[in-house]
């Protein structure tokens, strides 16, 4: 096995598993390759090496750690509002030391409840599943897997993280405002979000939300243009677009979606800021507050929804596509089989990307739009089932009769496919305008998108972390703890979101602070308790992961260069690659990344950098021609 992974182009000597990613690389190691790597001739100051680093791997880890921080915050917020929903009669007095005046008479303040759901959505969608997921893995994997020393512009890449950091600081500070953070839902529909005097959460909290998102958009654009340029320009010799791992295809298309859709959110945010603070009326018209008419005339709140969802819909694919790419990679590696339908996988990703721009109004079926227009959007929405179905069947066919190794990453990848199917099917229901008008704003919608986009993307994130942890930190995560984490999370997610469908079909509206006023919903009291219990349980299961993650960074079993016997280029680097990734020359690429269990081959995997001339026994006729 090890002779297969020995790189023909890598003249440099064997490096021992050298410490964790954050440990200073030994000096002698650099002495050997100093002529390759002028950059690291001198020891860099730790500030430039670990904080303001331009190394894509460090930036990726920065995104990951910040994302984990935000996930804990986002999860905590959801536990708080699930407490309120599950035990409307119970007392929350014991939370007073933490929440202070947000607990009134043993109950959660209703305004704060709105702020909680708003911030939970914002944090999870943007800060965890966009920045934490594609920020981490696009950064970490693109240069390593396409065979580049770093991103096209390391400086812009660094800026991308620090804009995200700035945006995070502002969003985090808004949690501590006296009037509370933004509270008009993560979709910040005007007029609620446009009138600072409307509710406490529309005041300073909303302003900070908008400022934070503006920086977030800048961060996404700086990152996105870098990812796309790196994939277009910096692929190593032989790495044609048709030899790219599916991860890279997914990150590439995700970045394109971001470049095209985040500017539109920027426009919406900009106009909303003008409406709030500069007296314009883009989204405001004919509004009375406490019997008094506002001067604003002629604005259109539906215009905001158009602008928002033009980003908002591609955004859900920005969240899910990196997970799809990583899952494809992990499934193929651990099933020891080529990915089924490589080109169909690329085609379906492209199809999903194109369709994502022409379906946004399916979020707006109840805005009074022309029914004919609605039916066009419905038709386009339902077509997305086709590329999604292609992907699901290809994943299942990849598993079929594979020599499956159930690593933790593999478990999470299979879990991803399961969640994607269960959540995707209800998408077909909601995509129908007639059904959606009934289901709109009920827990059915909540259940749908938490399964297909929230949980599934989280599973992709976990699969990615478990799979690439050895390359990030030079150590392995604990597999037993990983199994415990997986089963608790997998069971927890289904226990939370399956019952929600029933509650939703019964008409239970989302974002309601209390349902006790409606007799028809009293029968769901037990079910709500059950959901809340499962949700809090599943949230606490995540601390197993967090323990495993940080423990393994310092104490995990040391990794080898290629612990999963994988084909892609990142596994040809030293155990912990330095800045520049390969100590010697960058390996050239000769074959696609999925030569697993190839008939006639000596080992069950052939890395991308092994030329056909070295694999005479397994070459197909046309490959043999390339070898001669």
């Amino acid at each position: 096995m090890s002779d297969m992974s020995a790189k023909p182009n890598l003249s440099a000597g064997v490096q021992t598993a050298g410490g964790i990613g954050t440990a200073p690389a030994s000096h002698t190691e650099h002495g050997e390759h100093a002529h390759h790597d002028e950059h690291e001739h001198h020891e860099q100051h730790w500030l430039w090496k670990y904080v303001f680093s331009q190394d894509h791997k460090v930036i990726g880890k920065q995104f990951l750690i910040t994302g984990i921080f935000w996930a804990i915050i986002g999860g905590t917020l959801s536990s708080l509002f699930r407490l309120q929903l599950g035990w409307p009669e119970g007392t929350m007095e014991w939370l007073t030391p933490v929440l202070g005046k947000w607990i009134e008479g043993g109950k959660l303040n209703p305004e704060f409840y709105l702020a909680l759901v708003t911030m939970h959505g914002t944090i999870m969608v943007f800060f965890v599943l966009t920045a934490g997921l594609s920020g981490t893995f696009s950064n970490f994997l693109i240069p390593l897997q396409v065979g580049a020393r770093d991103m096209a512009s390391g400086f812009m890449n660094m800026l991308s993280y620090w804009f995200f950091f700035l945006s995070s600081i502002i969003m985090f500070m808004s949690l501590f405002l006296e009037t509370g953070p933004a509270a008009s839902g993560w979709t910040i529909y005007p007029p609620l979000s446009a009138l600072p005097q409307a509710i406490p959460g529309s005041g300073m909290g909303m302003t900070m939300w908008l400022v934070s998102m503006a920086f977030f958009i800048v961060s996404q654009l700086l990152g996105g243009v870098n990812y796309v340029t790196t994939v277009i320009n910096l692929r190593t010799r032989g790495m044609s677009m048709s030899k790219l791992p599916l991860t890279i295809w997914a990150f590439f298309l995700t970045a394109i979606l971001g470049i095209l859709s985040f500017p539109v959110l920027f426009s919406a945010v900009l106009l909303l800021v003008f409406d709030r603070s500069f007296g314009t009326s883009f989204f405001l018209s004919d509004i009375y507050i406490a019997g008094q008419a506002l001067p604003n005339q002629g604005g259109s709140p539906v215009l905001f929804q158009h602008l928002f969802w033009f980003l908002g819909h591609p955004e859900v694919y920005i969240v899910i596509m990196p997970a799809m790419g990583m899952v494809s990679e992990v499934l193929a590696t651990n099933a020891r089989k080529p990915i089924f339908g490589y080109r169909a996988m690329i085609g379906s990703l492209i199809g999903i990307s194109l369709l994502s721009f022409v379906v946004w109004a399916h979020h707006m079926f109840v805005t009074g739009m022309n029914p004919f227009l609605g039916s066009v959007f419905m038709f386009l929405t339902l077509i997305i089932a086709v590329p999604s179905g292609v992907k699901v069947f290809n994943w299942l066919a990849t598993l079929w009769r594979g020599n499956i190794r159930f690593t933790t990453a593999m478990m999470f990848s299979i879990g991803f496919v399961s969640l994607f199917i269960s959540g995707g099917l209800t998408g077909i229901i909601l995509g129908n305008a007639t059904l959606d008008i009934q289901m709109h704003n009920t827990y059915f919608v909540v259940a749908h998108f938490h399964l297909v986009m929230g949980s599934a993307a989280f599973f992709g994130l976990f699969a990615g972390v478990y799979h690439w942890f050895p390359k990030m930190f030079g150590r392995m995560m604990d597999e037993k703890l990983g199994y415990v984490h997986f089963w608790l999370t997998f069971a927890g997610v289904y226990l939370v979101f399956l019952p929600m469908h029933y509650v939703g079909i019964a008409g239970f509206p989302r974002r309601y602070y209390a349902w006790t006023g409606f007799d028809s919903f009293s029968q769901f009291a037990d079910l709500n308790k059950f959901i809340s219990t499962a949700a809090i349980f599943a949230f606490f299961a995540q601390f197993i992961f967090i323990f495993n993650f940080f423990y393994s960074i310092w104490r995990g079993r040391r990794a080898t260069e290629n612990p999963w016997n994988s084909n892609t280029l990142e596994w040809t680097t030293p155990v912990v690659p330095g800045h520049g990734n390969w100590p010697g020359e960058i390996p050239a690429v000769y074959r696609w990344p999925y030569d697993y269990s190839k008939p006639g081959a000596e080992a069950d995997f052939i890395p991308q950098n092994v030329p056909y001339s070295q694999t005479q026994s397994s070459n197909l006729p046309y490959e043999q021609e390339l070898a001669d």
């Binding site: 002028e38 512009s153 996105g224 870098n226 500017p263 314009t280 002629g298 215009l303 158009h306 602008l307």
Partner: protein
């Protein structure tokens, strides 16, 4: 791009330098901002309660200025190809100066708009007017970035870093500048047709 990396060991991408690809992608995202704003303009106008307004005539003058600025920069770029550094400096300085004149002209236009009682916000404002200020303001904001870029290239020219074998920076600057000019032309025509 990492300094130790060379493009010769890479797959051929689109045949453009990575910096140029970065620039083009950023221009694409700018385009999306203006596409969303102008389509918002149309969607909003079709819903009624829309006050017509007059475009100040100075905009025609500004449009000519920005076009001349683009011509000057193109001339500088051609001269750089032929290693006529003096002309490069002159062309760049002209483009920069005309860009500044354009910005001043836009500012004067805002004054004329206010005189014609077309306001950005407040009691007397209508969305139609607000949109004009947002479109022109966003464009001016982009133009400022372009001016900084031109100034950087001008400085590089004085340091002998722009010549027939070092055309990347001036080439990128002229791509951006022509883009901003074309963007203005689009906005001007759009406002002419839709005010």
């Amino acid at each position: 791009m990492n300094p130790i990396e060379s493009l010769s060991e890479k797959e051929i991408g689109l045949g453009w330098h990575p910096k140029r690809v970065l620039l083009i992608l950023l221009m694409v995202s700018s385009t999306m901002i203006f596409a969303s704003l102008t389509s918002g303009f149309i969607v909003r106008r079709d819903e009624g309660n829309w006050r017509e307004f007059d475009l100040p005539s100075i905009l025609a003058f500004n449009t000519i200025v920005i076009a001349l600025s683009s011509v000057a920069l193109q001339w500088a770029y051609m001269s750089a190809k032929k290693d006529e550094i003096g002309r490069v400096k002159l062309g760049l300085a002209l483009a920069l100066g005309l860009g500044l004149v354009f910005l001043v002209g836009q500012w004067l236009c805002w004054g004329a708009l206010v005189d014609g009682r077309t306001f950005f916000g407040g009691m007397d404002a209508n969305v139609s007017g607000s949109f004009v200020y947002v479109l022109m303001g966003m464009h001016a904001f982009h133009l400022l970035a372009g001016l900084v870029f031109l100034a950087v290239v001008l400085r590089r020219t004085f340091n002998y870093q722009v010549h027939s074998r070092a055309l990347l920076s001036i080439g990128n600057a002229s791509i951006l500048w022509h883009f901003l000019g074309a963007l203005w032309l689009y906005l001007y025509l759009f406002l002419l047709l839709n005010h």
